[in-house]
Structures are given as C-alpha cells and as structure tokens.
C-alpha cells in the first residue's frame, strides 16, 4: 500500500476520494458515487460522447488521444457485441498512479466503464489489472461483486432496462500487454503480441467486436466530468488539455509521491515545490518527464508546462505521468542500461528491430558500463536506436529507442568518460555495481 501525500497546489478530482474508505460501495455512494452513471442513463449516447469530447479529456495511458473522439469512432450499428476495456496494466517504470485509483477508488473505474459502455452501446466491460497488482485484483473483485449485489451491473442496471456486465481480468506479468492490441490478445487468452492496425479496436477489437480501450485514470475521470460538466473540467487545464492528472514524482526528491495537479502545471515547480526539491544539497542532473519511454530532459529544459502539447515541443512527451528526477550522482550510462534492460526484457519478440535491437543495446551498454566500451559503440547505439525508431511493429520499440537517443545526444560526454577501461566516474562503488550488472 502506498502512502498518500498532499500539496496545496493539488486539485483533487480523481484523487478526491483517496483515503476516504471509498472501496466500500456505500461509502462511495455517499461520496457522490454512481450519480454520474445514473445521469448518463438519462442522456442520449451522443450527448455523453460530446460532453467527454468538450471536456478536453485526453488519454492518461500515455498517448494523450482525445477520449471523446475515440468513443465517437465506435460504429453505432455493429454485427458483433461491443466492449469496453479498461487498461490497468500499468507497468511503465516511473508510473504508479492507476494502482492508487484501484486501491482507493475502484468504483470510480467501474463507473467510468459503465458510462463509456452507455456512450457507445457496449454491454460488457472488462477491467484488466496488471498481474503483479494481485492485491488490487482482490479489491476490484469485491467491488464488482458489490455492484452486482446492488443491481448496478448485470441485467437491467439501475432498473433502466439496460444490461451491462463487468468483469475483471488479471495480467500475467508482461509490460507489452499494456499496449492496447496486445492487451486484447492477452484478454482473449493468447500470447500478448500486438495486432496489425488498421483495423483499430474501435471498429474491430475484442473477439472482433468494436472495443473502446481506455486507461484506468482516463475512465475514473469520466464520472467527474459528467457531474461537474465539460466546461468546468476543461477549464482546470490549458486549452485542449482538460482537467487534472496524477503525476508520480519519483527519484531524488525530498517528497516523492503521487500528486494530482492541473494539466499544464510547471515541471520545475513540480520538482522544487511540490516534490520538495533535491535532497542532500545535490544538484539536478536530468528529469524523465513521463515514464521511462519519454526522452530525458536537461535541467535547462524543465521550465515547461506539463501538458501534452508543451512537453512535445521539448522533443519529449508527457507520457503516463511518471516524473523521475535524477541528481548529479547518477551515472547516465547506468541509467540508460537500466532503462534498456527493462525494454529488452519486456520486448515481446515479435518484430526484428525491437527484439534484436533492444538486445544489442543491452549487451553493448553492459560492456560499456564495465569499462570495455569503444568510441564507435556510442555512435552505434545511436544508429541502432535511430533505425528502430518508427519501424517497429508497436510503439514498444520506440519506447526504447527514443530515450536511448536522448541519452546519447544529451550525455555523450558521460559515455565518452567511460571509454578506455576507465571506471565509472559517477559510481564510487563501481566494483560492486559492475558485478551486479554483469549478471543482468
């Protein structure tokens, strides 16, 4: 269980009920729960979609696609059943927000799924929870049972005459199944490997039926939008970036934790004020703004509004909200290795550039960090990443290539400092670390 943190700049929307016992369905109802879905039941589907569209809500899973627009892609008439699939596979290093939602406010996710279902005409909703989040699955199971017991799910929900089933499904421990098409494969009981697109899931998804796939935080935001109104939500953030977001502040910070801040909140302020700055009088070296796949930012680049469009202008991405702060004791080669090791391990192996590319990056980085790097390796690693970028079957390859290119571009000197058998200049206890890394 994670400790809750707080800061006066927070605007609590999704985290409104955190720490308030809302896993209990009655408590949830007391705290305005299941009001939004009742409202949705009185609305035309298109009106729900428009409300979400106008709220400026963009996907919290990482890509930042307009949620309302995504819903509008689902065909009105379909020969196969339609589905809602909540993506709770949260595995991107640095990102740990969905777990708080599942832990403190599971009904918000369920209610979000219900509203999405009403909006697109789905009769089944699946909540997919990361395999390692076993304890959260238990909470979710209980929540779903309570919803059925109250008659909110199943046949004739809320006495509306409409049917809607809600299920949960546990992952088996692969980051890749967070990717939406691999997620569907996994849910269908197959190997977690992405699908060819088009067709997109909104048209051909689970078992061939139109499927809306949204991140857990995205869906948990929806009830609030329906109750508070699109305009209120949109105005919480800058244009086209409605609402708030759970930022996961991690790394070398005085007060790490998950904070809900308005979209567009300044990153520098986030680090130094919300996160309490760098401990032990150390200096900031770099920041990963949105999960390990987003290119790293230098201290001079962090005076930026944390919304999708502004961060994109820096050449990085807002991503999934995982802000990782590194102080000046961190070896960037080791950090690169740690990052690539993750992607190498999580590559599903389907396509050549990601399967082979991440492996060579890892092998080269291990040797490099051990002091046996060659000057040409630095260019090779960049060349390799460049040739993976945009050419892999799914974005996981990009997720490895993008940060790697940034590491080389922004920290070339640090790579050069490792050449010629020099011990890692940033790690005193390099012996020990080398031993650890050698067996990676």
């Amino acid at each position: 269980m994670a400790d809750l943190v707080s800061h006066p700049d927070e605007v609590r929307v999704v985290s409104k009920r955190f720490g308030k016992g809302a896993t209990n369905i009655d408590r949830y109802i007391e705290l305005d729960g299941y009001k939004a879905v009742r409202k949705a039941l009185t609305m035309e589907p298109d009106a729900i979609i428009n409300e979400v569209k106008n709220s400026g809500l963009r996907g919290r899973g990482g890509a930042g696609f307009s949620t309302g627009l995504k819903w509008s892609f689902v065909p009105k008439q379909a020969s196969k059943p339609k589905y809602i699939l909540c993506n709770g596979d949260e595995s991107e290093p640095g990102t740990c927000k969905d777990r708080l939602i599942f832990e403190h406010d599971p009904h918000a996710v369920i209610e979000g799924v219900m509203i999405a279902a009403l909006a697109v005409g789905a009769t089944k909703g699946y909540i997919y929870i990361r395999g390692e989040y076993r304890y959260l699955s238990e909470i979710m199971q209980k929540a779903i049972a309570d919803v059925y017991a109250k008659g909110f799910a199943g046949k004739n929900i809320f006495g509306s005459g409409k049917d809607l089933d809600i299920y949960w499904h546990g992952g088996a421990g692969a980051y890749e199944v967070g990717e939406e098409s691999a997620l569907m494969e996994s849910l269908e009981g197959k190997r977690g490997i992405p699908r060819i697109r088009p067709p997109f899931p909104a048209v051909v998804g689970l078992w061939g039926g139109p499927t809306v796939i949204n991140n857990a935080e995205t869906l948990a935001s929806v009830p609030h939008i329906l109750l508070g109104g699109a305009e209120w939500y949109a105005n919480l953030g800058p244009p086209k970036n409605g609402g708030t977001r759970l930022f996961c502040l991690a790394g070398d910070l005085e007060k790490p934790g998950v904070y809900e801040l308005p979209m567009g909140y300044n990153l520098k302020k986030m680090i130094y004020e919300v996160g309490g700055g760098i401990p032990n009088g150390r200096k900031l070296k770099a920041v990963v703004p949105g999960g390990s796949s987003t290119p790293i930012l230098l201290p001079e680049e962090i005076d930026v509004a944390m919304d999708f469009d502004s961060v994109a202008k820096t050449g990085s991405m807002l991503g999934s909200g995982g802000v990782v702060v590194l102080d000046d004791t961190v070896c960037m080669v080791k950090f690169a290795l740690r990052t690539i090791k993750f992607y190498q391990h999580e590559s599903c192996g389907w396509c050549i550039p990601c399967r082979e590319g991440t492996d060579w990056l890892k092998k080269t980085l291990i040797r490099f960090h051990n002091g046996a790097g060659l000057k040409k390796d630095i260019d090779n690693m960049y060349y390799l990443s460049e040739n993976m970028l945009g050419r892999t079957f799914c974005p996981l390859g990009d997720a490895a290539a993008m940060p790697m290119m940034a590491f080389v571009k922004k920290f070339r000197k640090e790579f050069e400092d490792h050449l010629d058998g020099k011990p890692c200049p940033y790690e005193k206890a390099s012996e020990e670390i080398n031993r650890e890394l050698a067996v990676l």
């Binding site: 399967r355 082979e356 092998k363």
Partner: protein
C-alpha cells in the same frame, strides 16, 4: 462468381499503376515488377508485419509503412526505393545478421537462402556488434524435421503454414523477446503430418529435413520437373537429382516454383518418400527360376525364355490361358501398350489391375453427355464441395489441402457425409455421420429417392437430411467428391444429383498415382482404352486366380503389381502357372515368379500419368539405377522375343521431321522449350520402338478424352481429360473394387521400401503397421 474487382490507381516510384481494390501494396508492386523485400509475408497466409523488411514510404503517413499490411487506396503515392528505405532495409538485415550464425558454408539453405539474397541486395557488409551471438543447439523434432534456432529469423511462416495451411497446428512460438523460439507441439518433438511444408517454406536454413540435410548443395543437383509417384492426386514436383554410385539419386523433392495443381504443396510421401528408388533391395538383374531358385540371368536369356514360354502357352492353350495384371504405378503409355500387347500379341482379354474406384460406372453415366468431371484446380475454386466417404487428409493429402484452403481463403462451403468423424469436418459447414456402408442410401436420397433414408436414419434427423438436399440442389457449381464407398449404383445416384445442379462436377477417388490412367487405358477384361467395350470379355483378376487354381491359367504376366499380397492370394495356386513379374523389388508376387524382370519406377522414366480427377501430366526421367529397364521397353522386348513385329505394337518411325535448328540446352529444372515445341507438334520423329511418345500419339488419336494440348502438357502443365468423350463404360461387380487403405505414411508395397516412411511409422507406433500391398 463475383464481378471483376474494382481497380484503384496509385503511383509507385513515379510509376502509375492500377491494382484491384482491397489488394495489398506488396502484391500490387510485385505485379508490376517492383520488388519489395519481405520475410514474413507469404501469399495466402495471415499477415504478420513482423520482419519489417517491406517498409515503404506512403505519402501523408508519418512513419514508414509495411507494404505487406497496407491495402492499396485510390491516389496513394508510394516510394519503395529511396535512401531512407534502403537504410531501413539495411538496418533490418544488420539486426538479423547480428545474431545469425553465418554458417552458410555448411547450411542446407546456402545458395537458396532468402537471408543471403537479402544481404546481397540490401547490404550489411560489416557487423556492428562485438558481443557473442546467442546460441542454442540444434534439435531433432521428428525423423523428418530438424530445427536450428540460431538460424531462425522468426518470420513465423512455418507456424502459419502448419496451422492455417495444414490445419495441424503443431508449431508455435515460445518465450518472449530474444528468447522467442519456434517450438514443436510435444515438448521436445513433433507429432504431426510430417509434410515438410514448414521446412519448405522456411526462408533460411533453420528448419531442415532429415532426408536432405548436409547431403548436397542446390547447385550440385539437376532439377527435374515431374509428378509424384504415390497417391492419385498428382502433385507436381521438382526432384533434385545427383550422381550416385549406382546411377542418379534423388535427394530432394519440392514444388518451390509453385507451378502445377498443387502450388507449393507436397505431403510427406511426395516430399520424402522417393527414397524407395535407391533402396538396397532394388532388383538390378533379371532372375530366372532354376532348380526351384530365382537365379540372376542376362536380359537376353530372360526375354528369350519369357517369349518362348508365352508363345508356347498361346499356341498350345490359346490366349485365354494367359493372364495379365497391370499397374497403377506405370505410365499411360505403358498401360496402353500393355493392354495392346495382351490383346494383340498374347491374344488375350484376360487383363486387369488393382481397381480402387469405379471409373467405368462413371464413364457409363457421363459417356456422350456434358462433361462434368472436376479437375484438382476446381477443388480449390469451387464455391461448395460435397464429400462422400473417404478420408482425404490421410488418403488424398493434396485434395484435402485444396479443400481446406478453399474453405479458408475463398469461404467455400464444405458438406461431408462419412461413416467416420474425419478430420476435414473441422472445415465443414455440415457434417453428417452415417452407418458404415450406408453411402449408397445417402447418395440415393440426395438423388431424390426419399425411401433410401429408411434404413439409415431415425426420423428425427430426416429434416436435416432434407435441408441438406435442398441446400445442395440450390448450390451452383458444387463439386461432388466421392470415395470408393460409392460404387456401381451409387455412382449413378451421385452423378444424377450432380446433373440436377447447375454447374456441378464430380470426382471419383482412386488410390494410386496412375489408378485413373490404368482405368482410362483399358486395363480391364471387358473394356478397351477409353471405356469402349471389348469384342469379347476376358477374365477379371479374381477369375484369373480361380483359373490358376483349377489349372486353366497357364501363364501370368504381372507388371508393377503385387496381387498376392494385395488380394491375399494363396501362392500355391500358381504352382502350375508360368509367372512373369516386372517389379522393382522381390515382392510377395515376385518370389513365386518363374522370371522376375527388374523394373524402373515412375521417377526413372518419361511419359504421362492421369490423376484421380482426370488431370493428365507428364513424368520425366529424373533418377536412374543401373540395371532395371522401363516397363515400356520390357513389354516391347517380350513382344519382339515372341516374334511379333514391334512396328505393329509401337508406331515408331513416324512423325514429320523438321529441321528447326539445334535445340538449346535447357537450364536446370526448366523445360527445353524448343524440344518441347518440336515434340508437341509431332515434328520429332520417333526413332525408337521404346519411345513412349509414339504410343502417346496413338492414345491421343484413339482416346478422344485425351486430345488435350500437347504443348501445355509437355511444358509441365496439367490438362484435364474429358471422360464424357469416352465409350459407354460398363457396370462391374462392386466387389472388384478393393480400397488400398493407405494412410499419410503408407504407400502400398512401394511404401515399404521407403526409409523415410518407415522411420516416421516407427517413430509413431513402435509395432510395424500392417501395410497392404500393390
């Protein structure tokens, strides 16, 4: 059939082209000669987008796109050949080579490897990596299939061809990331149909075959296009042949050029069971029984003896005291010649063969009517198929492939009526199980006789039967395929059903490579070639056996057949019969012979054979064992030894001569077009009495159904013969049909001499399976 597809216009590398709407960009490019490299894309298998070799630039798209998954669209502008794309391809090859063992000098695929070709075309001269390559030891998965993981590029073609194409699903992917590995269905080995399709389709040397691995290199073989010698489906195959001590040895069979009725399909038998040809038990010398023992002799002595004996019997007891049993594994020309020899030289109508389908009954219904026999190609394209009896997966692997893939790729509807829940029911729209032996009832009901059902079904399922009949009657262009369960009256019933449906066609299933040819060429006591009645009927095979027993059959001439084993005949009954056997091996029948003449097999001679559908194709001499002669030559030599003027037997020395200049030498595997043309136009004189083309001339003249394009035929294409142009056929005793009951891994007597088949059998069930003979 559907309307012609709509065309869309697109621009590729500045070239304007049109392609059918819905087609893939990679195919559209290929059709106009723009090569887009690919590993994982394979026509007719599901799309993968895995190898990323086919990346192209499509205007307005932010990233490079895979041409193998991109559907053409009107106005699409595509670049396939700029610096960006070249670099992308180069990088992909570099990445693959990074972990590739580069053991090309010992790899089976060397010289035919798509990775080698790609490296050559798209360059990746230097390796950028210095860490050790990931290694795994080679594994043997079955007698047929070996797997070498380091060479595997994970294109998943093997997985798909086994699953989607074969419906076996024996291969899968295990683990993730760089540890991903192709894995067999039973922990560490395969239990499957051993078709070798996975090996054939592998673009590199990761999957290799037990038959071929480490034996030779592609450029050290001759490649001969011919037809499979096993079942009656007639797969076209290219045999890789190389010199061996005892002649020319076949080391490989495939149909990689995808020509012919079978595209790239071959089953276990076609792909690997050519090894009987070089079995150590091959007879290479004539044997004559001396002092009760078969003793090697010279050809002259043997022919002289056979000629003398046969003459003696004919003169003393008349031709009716001589019996002839022909083969389902010899060419049309040989079969034709054999019956001509029997009738003209031996003056006997006692000629028969191992019958496995009732073609005379089919001829009887079709003669003079509209042609309604279907070709093997029709099976792949028909909108609907009705299959009665038989288990094609085991007995007609190509037919089963055609059916499965027609269902999968064209959505054909398959209706099955069978006494067993055969595997093809997995593709079926409807499957109706009937009691054993109730095929006639089923056929009669479908043909309109309502009472026929009484014996076989409870009234409850009558509605289903009626619905099925209704549905079939309303299915245009239905192809009806039936096994040997359908004989005699049942054939009439089925053809009756067919003729009541617009465009419907039929196929009767026989069991061996030239079963149909044996039948068409008149290996019957009462039927001449083309199903014309003989003036006087001779003895059937069982009658010959009876006459032998009663001492009336004085001589028996058996060509490429093993009636003793097949019909479980008592060897004692031939004690008083002079028996001559032409065969490759000392079969049960050969062991009781007075003279055994070593015969060449279908891979060692040239001629034509006809598959069960009536598709005639050529066989070409590929391999050779020193010693044996072709059946054709032996028949002529015996006639000669009997003092018969062989000019009356083989019309050789005819044909016009035309000096068309020297024919150019053919490239390996490719037909010598000039020679083919000369031959096809009858401009090549048949100089020798052993030239089968001389007999083929006669067949084409006298069997109207065989008046097909010679040019096509001789160029290696299949030509569908017309059964409706045959004579009136005949009604035969249905008991004369004796199904072979071979399965995927058996092939009559022939199969017993295939090490490949035996090893699979042993692997499968330790106790030797009971294999029938022929």
């Amino acid at each position: 059939m559907a309307d012609a597809p709509k065309l869309v216009n697109l621009t590729v590398d500045g070239k304007k082209l049109t392609a059918p709407a819905g087609s893939l960009l990679i195919d559209a490019c290929k059709n106009v000669g723009i090569e887009v490299p690919s590993f994982c894309y394979y026509p007719n298998l599901s799309l993968q987008g895995a190898c990323r070799m086919c990346l192209v630039r499509v205007e307005k798209m932010p990233k490079l796109q895979t041409a193998c998954t991109t559907v053409v669209a009107e106005g699409m502008v595509v670049a396939t050949d700029n610096e960006e794309i070249k670099q992308a391809r180069k990088a992909m090859v570099e990445l693959l080579l990074g972990n590739h063992p580069l053991d090309c000098p010992v790899c089976d695929a060397g010289g035919e490897c798509e990775l080698q070709d790609m490296t050559f075309s798209y360059g990746a001269a230097e390796s950028k990596y210095m860490e050790p390559k990931n290694h795994k030891d080679e594994q043997q998965w079955s007698p047929v299939v070996f797997f070498d993981r380091p060479r595997c590029i994970l294109c998943y073609r093997c997985v798909r061809v086994c699953g989607e194409g074969m419906d076996v699903w024996a291969l899968g992917v295990q683990n993730r990331g760089v540890s991903s590995i192709i894995a067999p269905n039973k922990e560490d080995h395969l239990e499957c149909e051993e078709c070798g399709m996975c090996i054939d389709i592998c673009p590199v040397g990761a999957l290799t075959s037990g038959a071929y691995r480490y034996k030779t290199r592609p450029w050290e073989m001759n490649h001969v296009g011919t037809t499979c010698a096993h079942c009656a489906d007639g797969c076209k195959t290219t045999l890789g042949v190389r010199r061996a001590d005892e002649g020319m040895e076949i080391v490989r069979g495939d149909n990689r050029d995808k020509s012919g009725i079978n595209n790239d399909f071959l089953c276990m038998k076609g792909r690997y069971a050519f090894d009987f040809a070089n079995h150590e038990d091959r007879l290479t010398q004539p044997l004559i029984r001396k002092n009760g023992k078969l003793t090697p002799s010279t050809w002259e002595e043997a022919f002289e003896l056979v000629g003398k004996k046969l003459n003696e019997v004919r003169m003393r007891d008349g031709g009716s005291a001589i019996g002839v049993i022909g083969s389902t594994h010899t060419t049309n020309e040989e079969n034709y010649l054999l019956q001509k020899f029997a009738r003209a030289v031996l003056e006997s109508n006692n000629i028969d063969h191992h019958r496995t389908a009732d073609f005379p009954a089919l001829a009887a219904v079709l003669s003079g009517k509209q042609e309604i026999t279907a070709s093997m190609r029709d099976v792949y394209n028909a909108p609907a198929i009705l299959l009665i009896g038989n288990d094609p997966t085991e007995q007609h692997p190509l037919l089963a492939w055609q059916i499965r893939n027609n269902v999968r790729l064209h959505g054909a509807k398959l209706h099955i009526i069978n006494s067993e829940p055969i595997k093809l029911r997995r593709q079926a729209t409807s499957f109706t199980q009937i009691p054993v032996g109730a095929e006639l009832n089923a056929a009669s009901f479908l043909a309109g006789d309502d009472s026929a059902l009484n014996a076989i079904t409870a009234s409850a399922s009558r509605e289903n039967w009626a619905a099925l009949r209704n549905q079939l009657r309303n299915t245009e262009n239905l192809v009806i395929i039936f096994g040997s369960e359908i004989r005699g009256a049942a054939v009439t019933a089925v053809t009756h059903l067919a003729s009541s449906i617009s465009g419907a066609k039929v196929i009767a299933l026989a069991d061996y490579a030239n079963s149909r040819g044996a039948s068409d060429m008149g290996l019957y006591p009462d039927l001449l070639p083309g199903y014309h009645p003989a003036a006087k009927s001779g003895l059937t095979l069982p009658q010959m056996a009876e006459n032998a027993k009663s001492g009336k059959l004085k001589a028996l001439y058996v060509v490429g057949s093993n009636p003793l084993a097949r019909f479980h005949l008592d060897s004692q009954i031939f004690a008083g019969t002079f028996v001559v056997v032409q065969d490759m091996f000392l079969t049960e029948t050969a062991t009781i012979a007075d003279v055994v003449l070593p015969a060449a097999n279908l891979y060692e001679k040239t001629g034509t054979i006809t598959n069960t559908c009536g598709d005639v194709q050529i066989v070409k001499k590929a391999s050779e064992v020193n010693g044996p002669k072709s059946d054709f030559e032996m028949i002529v030599r015996i006639a000669d030894a009997m003092g018969y003027d062989v000019r009356n037997l083989v019309p050789f020395g005819r044909g016009e001569t035309a000096d068309m200049g020297q024919s150019r030498g053919a490239q390996s595997g490719e037909a010598d077009r000039h020679a083919v043309w000369l031959q096809a136009n009858n401009l090549e004189p048949k100089l020798s009495p052993f030239d089968p083309m001389a007999i083929f001339d006669e067949i084409q003249r006298l069997v109207p159904g065989y008046r097909v394009s010679r040019l096509n035929l001789l160029s290696g294409n299949d030509e569908h013969t017309q059964l409706s142009q045959s004579g009136p056929g005949a009604k035969h005793d249905p008991a004369l049909i004796v199904p072979a009951h071979d399965n995927l891994f058996s092939s009559g007597t022939l199969g017993r001499y295939s090490r490949a088949l035996n090893s699979v059998m042993e692997n499968r069930n330790p106790q030797p399976a009971e294999v029938a003979a022929d």
